[in-house]
């Protein structure tokens, strides 16, 4: 089947009703901190701590939060680039096959790569400098014996065209490309096997404003054409608001709020979300002054504060917050929030 035929098949595939593609339940990833020759465990980094969320086909789910809150670790667990400590990640192929990614092994795990791919933050270090574009983009096709020789070249040329690179570049090395072009190369590589789900880890953070706009447009176009589902990891909230349908906010390894994008941005329910939104520098000198500057540093995931993990930095914290850990609660309208005071607080979002 040619790429075009496959795509046509895929589009009719997605024409079917949306379904729950991925259900993440109580996902946990702890990194042990060891000491001494015997590598005795002295503490644990609770990088991902009891994380629950889902992704439906065709949507873009944002994963946001400060540096070190566990976004990348979550993404890497989903692809089993690292093994989770516990939890389930139920993936529904939509054709009757439903698997728990956490339990996959061997052949079945390898097969997962056909349907799930990752695009990395750094377009400079994530591509092997000694490989040509043909090697880089064609590698998954070769690994899965999908194509070789002439057909491989055609497929790679088609993929390059798809992401807006000239097919003539097939034999060039990545150093000859700019940051934005390299990011396109990694996107082409991620798309080679026609995945259903793409986990994009800060895909535009290292890019210039204009190249960033090109790349975001490209991701949107590809989603339309190929019916892709994205998990979009970012700490840039203006980008997240632009591209995501729903957003999961994380703080020190935990989900603190889940909502559709406009609810989250206009009427945040968690004080941390409010603080994040207010911290974004606004490209308008008349709006620039009204910010809450969040005091203090992100909590240490190997030494999470008692009670609500956010309480030392929260302007609304009361005694109860310092003692008792809030649970992720589902509100009437289906939004989820982890805050004792979510019902009584009236927080401000973006204008």
């Amino acid at each position: 089947m040619s790429v075009a035929e496959q795509n046509a098949a895929r589009s009719s595939d997605t024409a079917r009703a949306r379904h729950r593609l991925l259900d993440v339940r109580k996902l946990t990833k702890h990194y042990p901190i060891t000491e001494g020759l015997l590598r005795r465990e002295v503490a644990r980094v609770r990088a991902v701590d009891d994380v629950t969320f889902h992704v439906d086909t065709g949507e873009t789910l944002g994963l946001v939060g400060e540096s070190g809150c566990g976004k990348t670790s979550t993404g890497r667990c989903l692809l089993r680039a690292i093994d989770p400590t516990s939890g389930e990640m139920v993936f529904d192929y939509g054709d009757g096959r439903v698997v728990d990614i956490a339990k996959l092994e061997g052949r079945a795990l390898k097969d997962l790569r056909k349907d799930m791919q990752m695009v990395f933050q750094d377009p400079f270090s994530s591509l092997n400098p000694r490989w040509t574009l043909l090697d880089l983009v064609g590698e998954p096709l070769v690994a899965f014996r999908v194509a070789k020789g002439r057909e491989l070249e055609d497929r790679v040329a088609e993929l390059l065209r798809r992401v807006g690179l000239r097919p003539e570049y097939l034999r060039r090395y990545p150093h000859a490309f700019s940051g934005g072009e390299r990011q396109r190369i990694s996107i082409a590589r991620a798309l080679a096997l026609n995945p259903r789900l793409v986990v994009a880890d800060e895909p535009v953070s290292a890019l210039d404003v204009s190249v960033r706009a090109q790349t975001l447009n490209l991701l949107e176009d590809l989603q339309q054409e190929l019916g892709l589902t994205y998990i979009f990891i970012s700490h840039d909230l203006s980008v997240v608001q632009h591209i995501c349908d729903r957003v999961v906010v994380m703080y020190v390894g935990q989900v603190v709020e889940v909502a559709d994008t406009s609810s989250l941005f206009f009427t945040p329910k968690h004080p941390y979300t409010e603080a994040l939104l207010s911290a974004v520098p606004k490209p308008d000198p008349d709006l620039a002054s009204s910010r809450i500057v969040l005091k203090g540093e992100v909590a240490d995931p190997s030494n999470v504060p008692k009670g609500c993990a956010f309480h030392p930095r929260c302007p609304y914290a009361v005694d109860h917050c310092r003692q008792v850990e809030p649970k992720l609660e589902t509100l009437g309208d289906g939004r989820q929030v982890r805050c004792h005071r979510a019902h009584e607080l009236s927080l401000s979002g973006v204008e």
């Binding site: 934005g180 204009s210 190249v211 975001l216 447009n217 608001q241 974004v280 606004k282 000198p285 204008e351």
Partner: protein, 352 residues
């Protein structure tokens, strides 16, 4: 303004037709190609533009650390020095100073300081941050090590580093990104410079840490009465910190305006395109983004005429691809180099 002895229109730094090039095997790169603007006392000027437009090299040329030889420098960088008792002193052309001579070394770090996007470039990994800050102090001031250490701790406290007495003995890698950035700012400001060149100081940081660092720079700027050159491609950061903005494209300043005019009434098609390319937070979110068309031309292969003509939606064939527009004053304090607004003041003057 703060200082009666100097007229308020006397700038701290004035760049006149600044040029910096690199002679490479592949050709000659005009990294800065005739940039002119000035920085007033106590002012924050934003310098924005896409990657490679010459922002960093402009700052590095001012400090004479761009790594070019003198034949590749042109124009003037007039800087008003400070006398020993802290009053405005003589004006020197930084470009005329020997790049490693006594005078530039007495300016560098003491009167003009620079902070970088990646704090690891400012710190050596094998010395504690404390020893590096102490060394910076002792380079310019004849004080004992203990006195310098006390000053360093005081400065670390001012950049809101908690546990400054303890953290002064940390190595750079032992600090988080935000803390390293604070330590670098402390090192840059410890000699109370008149001018701070801040090269993408928050680009690598989270929004929350970024907000903290920007607030810190603003507060220290007010306390020390210094001027800041804020180099960034984040227009949000510029809107938030700068009073005036220089927009650079291929080594040239294509528009210069106060921050409100620049954001609400941009004149140069490049500035307009840059503003249209950013996702905006708020009601308009989700609308299709409009990236600047095409790519920044290769530095070896600059287009003839207006540097932006190959990507400009309003380019006029036969005009823009032939001649270079000079700066035209739209209103006092707002200049633009674009044929849509005339051929440029200097040209008309020359023609008269």
């Amino acid at each position: 303004m703060q200082n009666q002895t100097v007229p308020s229109d006397s700038p701290l730094l004035e760049l006149r037709d600044l040029r910096t090039g690199f002679a490479l095997r592949e050709g000659y790169v005009k990294a800065v190609d005739g940039a002119s603007f000035s920085v007033a006392r106590g002012e924050t000027i934003g310098v924005v533009g896409e990657s490679g437009c010459g922002k960093s090299i402009t700052a590095r040329t001012i400090l004479r650390i761009a790594g070019t030889n003198d034949s590749e420098l042109g124009g003037e960088a007039l800087f008003r020095r400070r006398t020993r008792d802290g009053r405005p002193g003589e004006v020197v052309d930084l470009l005329k100073l020997a790049p490693n001579g006594r005078e530039i070394r007495s300016i560098r770090g003491a009167e003009i300081a620079m902070i970088f996007q990646e704090p690891m470039t400012a710190f050596s990994p094998v010395h504690t941050i404390g020893n590096q800050i102490i060394e910076a102090i002792q380079l310019h001031h004849p004080v004992s090590k203990d006195e310098a250490r006390a000053t360093a701790i005081d400065m670390l406290r001012r950049v809101e580093m908690s546990n400054a007495e303890r953290r002064i003995d940390a190595y750079p890698h032992q600090l988080s990104g935000g803390m390293r950035q604070r330590a670098m700012i402390a090192m840059a400001l410890v000699c109370r410079p008149q001018l701070l060149l801040a090269d993408e100081p928050t680009t690598a940081l989270d929004v929350t840490t970024q907000a903290q660092i920007l607030a810190l720079i603003r507060q220290l700027k007010a306390e020390l009465g210094m001027s800041v050159m804020m180099i960034t491609h984040d227009l949000g950061v510029v809107a938030e910190t700068a009073q005036n903005v220089a927009v650079m494209y291929l080594g040239k300043v294509v528009e210069y305006a106060d921050v409100r005019a620049l954001f609400h009434d941009p004149k140069h098609p490049y500035t307009q395109a840059l503003l249209a390319s950013i996702p905006k937070l708020g009601r308009e979110a989700g609308a299709r983004l409009h990236p600047v068309k095409g790519m920044v031309p290769s530095p070896f292969n600059r287009p003839r005429g207006c540097p932006f003509n190959t990507r400009c939606p309003k380019a006029m064939p036969g005009v823009c691809d032939v001649d270079m527009p000079g700066p035209t004053t739209i209103k006092p304090g707002h200049t633009v180099s674009c044929f849509l607004y005339g051929a440029g003041d200097t040209r008309t003057e020359a023609a008269q």
